[in-house]
Amino acid sequence: MTQTADRRGLAQRLFEPDRLESLAVVPKVGTYVVLGFWTLVVLFPLYWVLVTSFKIEVQVDSGPYFLPFVDFTPSLDAWNFMLFKNNTMGAYLNSIIVALSSTLLALLIGSLASYALVRIRFQVKLAAVVTFIALLIAVIIAVAALGVPWAAATAVAIALFLLSLGTFVRRFNAAVGNNDIEFWMISNRIMPPIVAVLPIYVMFQHLGLLDTQVALISTYTGVNLPIVVWLTRDFFAGIPLDLEESAEIDGASKFRVFFTIALPLVRSGLAATFMLVLILTWNEFLLALFLTNARAQTMPVLVAAQNTTRGPQWWYMSVLIVIMIAPVIVIAGFLQKHIARGLLVGAVKG
């Protein structure tokens, strides 16, 4: 190797890599220093929460203590109380049921919607949309302000709407297309959720569904639909049309094409979307705070409830946070290979 001795200067050797696919010494060191620092920033709070969950009140107040068995003697007091004496498992179960069912529902409905938006061309007359909204407002005014029975008002409005479809709506050509529908969907997410919380609360109050899992599941499903539609539409749009056309010639219905061809091909995308929506619902606090009370309470609300009149109960909170984080990490581990895999290899010529 003497003949290929490095004749570059010191600065070049420090800053220029030997090969194109590797890093030089200085950038390498710099990169790992930054990464190491960031790892610390991310991992330390997790470590701190874990450690705190094994402390008792005195140890927290007189701390900080960092190392169990060295700084302080760990105790299972907080775990004991939270798991066996407090109704933690109820909230935990609520969280699991609500998060899983609303995520799966949002994924099913949302992917059907985004597939339709990608593959079917919609052209709804703008005049029909405007008429519908105008009649809706008229019904609300009639019922609320003028005391018209709601059944009568709705019946009249439906009749008027159907009549308008055949008559004056036909005169207008402006139509709402797929892009408008997609924008309308995402615009629902632009609005801050706090705006909608009170109407939603009142709605469930009237339905007698406050403090039920049904209320949370249906609200979360609705709230997360736009996200699912927007995330999955590009996955569906990326499927070669040939595949679906071939299936249709082979005799499959649209639903069959969706479930046997389209859906399996966007599996990785669906896994990523599932993960994201699951985490969003798992962590959701605001709506849960308003819509639940005791029976349907979820974990984020329970965690916040540990901030009591006697001050924040850090050790209890830490226990709750640890058991809240655990399942998400496990699921992410399972789905990781799906998220990273390119499934379309070999679909078309290659």
């Binding site: 005799g251 010529k349 290659g350």
Partner: protein
Amino acid sequence: MRVRLEQIFKSFGLVEVVKGLDLEVQDGEFLVLLGASGSGKTTALRMIAGLESVTSGRILIGERDVTNVLPKYRDVAMVFQSYALYPHMTVFANIAYPLMVRKEPKAEIEARVTDVARQVQLDTLLARYPRQLSGGQRQRVALARAMIRRPAAFLMDEPLSNLDAKLRGYMRAELKHMQHQLGITTIYVTHDQIEAMTLAHRVALLEKGVVQQLDTPANIYNAPANLFVAGFIGSPPMNFLEGSLADGRFSLVGGSFALAERAPNSAAVAGVRPEDCSVTEPGAGKIAGEVYTVELMGDHTLVTCRIGGASMIVKADKAFSRHEGETIGVDFADRTVHLFDTASGLRIG
């Protein structure tokens, strides 16, 4: 089964891509739709499959009007240029898909898949996924999936264009053999004239959405209906000489030659195929010229000659020994000259 297209028109917005297509494909016939890109051939095929609606006209498969019928009820099978194999299914599942959709009994599906797979030599690859196959193998899976249903008609959209030249030649022969054995009506779209000539019982040559000629490969080659067909079919293409015909002589800029027994015409195009021409000694032959370029192709030599203001390609022997700039004569027989009317482009003799 018989496939009939009656006065099919198709527009995408303001662009009319198919203009009054009339076709009748006989039962068991192999018909090739040949044309350059943008000629409307793929659109025509997609309309037969039901993937594209027709703007006006009727499509009949057998005696049934399928103009407004969904693809799945048309009983046709299609092979796509991309093969369109389902990447998440094994070869077995790919081939079985049309039967599984129809909920055929499991044993029946197994038997038929095994049978078809043997016919296309895939029987050892049934457990693989498409991504583990070579181009030729994927092509055969696509064929097997089309064959398994015994459809009323095969529709093929440039199925060989993704294969390399050697494999394409092999698959072409396989395809022809298979179609002959199965006897299923086949409509095949291609831009490759060799595929059209070798595979078809009849060729429909399309240009700008209109059929230019519909005939057997031999007739299309030997008696092209117009200038477009004459120029499209044949490689290297037919030589065209513009001029006029009077008193048994065809005159062009910078020369003339005898052409007996044809009706006089003041503006005509004489077409001669390169293989019907030969290079002669200066002064001999039908018309004088000089060698412009010489290209050795291996088994023959292409000689481009300047004839007055025009140029002609002559297909000569591989031992051709003249050089650029030499004066020569070009000879061809009277009966090999195709005569076209300049204005209409139609064949006049």
